[in-house]
Symmetry: C2
Subunit: 199 residues, 2 copies
């Protein structure tokens, strides 16, 4: 016997699997949805249901996109001689929000993390090197998170890219160590973009 009705329990069970949502929050959300307008609930359901259907990786920058190449890589007004390397798609959003960067991106989809068993081959590093050889950009800006793993991944990339004769830079300090790039405010992130230095 379910204490709460089965369709409600089913939503709770599905929600508790999401990060940061415990059993109490899941219950609250489920009962909120029961009271919410039907079209709003259906929109949430179908948005989630259709999320993965049309998403592909951009063959150039490896970002998630509905068009390949993505809108940023297809934009003729971007500076193709500057590539910014980030860990995750959300980092692209954070940097775009500053309006202070007009180059292209390359999304690694993670960082090197031996503890979790994530090595260079698990990331889009091969694609970055191929791209660096073919496109020969003037500069590659490493914008990994200011964490142990982010810094180590940046140093690793710099060692691979230097032999190609490409200037490799990193975001200026100003980002607090141990923090997360995605949560940086626009001003801090803008200053870090302006003050980037050679490594």
């Amino acid at each position: 016997m379910y204490i709460v009705a089965e369709p409600i329990q089913r939503v709770i069970d599905a929600l508790v699997q999401l990060p940061g949502i415990g059993p109490k929050s899941a219950s609250r959300l489920a009962f909120h949805l029961l009271r919410a307008p039907a079209d709003q609930v259906q929109e949430l359901a179908s948005a989630i249901g259709e999320l993965k259907a049309n998403i592909v990786y951009c063959r150039r920058c490896q970002n998630l996109t509905t068009t390949d190449p993505c809108a940023i890589c297809s934009d003729r007004n971007r500076d193709v001689r500057l590539i910014c390397v980030v860990e995750e798609p959300l980092d692209v959003v954070a940097i775009e929000r500053t309006g202070a960067f007009r180059g292209l991106y390359h999304v690694l989809h993670g960082v090197i993390n031996p503890v979790e068993g994530i090595g260079p081959d698990d990331l889009r590093i091969g694609a970055l090197l191929d791209r660096a050889r073919v496109e020969a950009p003037a500069e590659i800006l490493i914008a990994t998170n200011p964490t142990m793993e982010g810094e180590a991944t940046g140093m690793y990339l710099a060692r691979l890219l230097h032999p190609l004769g490409i200037r490799v830079t990193r975001l200026a300090r100003g980002l607090p160590m141990g923090g997360d790039l995605e949560y940086a405010d626009e001003v801090t992130l803008s200053r870090a973009l302006e003050g980037r230095r050679d490594i």
Copy 2:
């Protein structure tokens, strides 16, 4: 142009409408879903999509249920001479979890709140009075939240129920004022059930 792909933005837009989920949490959840197994994401979508389809109010206790009467009202082992009045379906879950209550419930679906324009007619109070007359329980235990509105609603119900010759009780103190019944721990809630007093 979307900075994040449209299907992702659509999920973010739908999630930020939920209580307690801001733009950053919504983004995190959307990208988490992108990486999650397809069947888990589809289960979440269909659970939400089918949430409202088969839910009805139990004609007896007014709780949300897939069967009418609900599983608790249909249970021959419950004490039909004791009715516990709660604000919301989640409060039933909280009390059931203690294992310390074997009576039936009545769900008001809110409290009297003049500031928000919620009067007695907006709640399942008429159904409670009809039920009290027909079923003539020995005791009605008011288990509204220990808030201003919850207490006022309890006093209002006691005034209506006393003329019917029914013993009206409330949960013992032990619940912190201004708190929320749903978040009380099992021990505190069990003590409050045991120590209920006449009003």
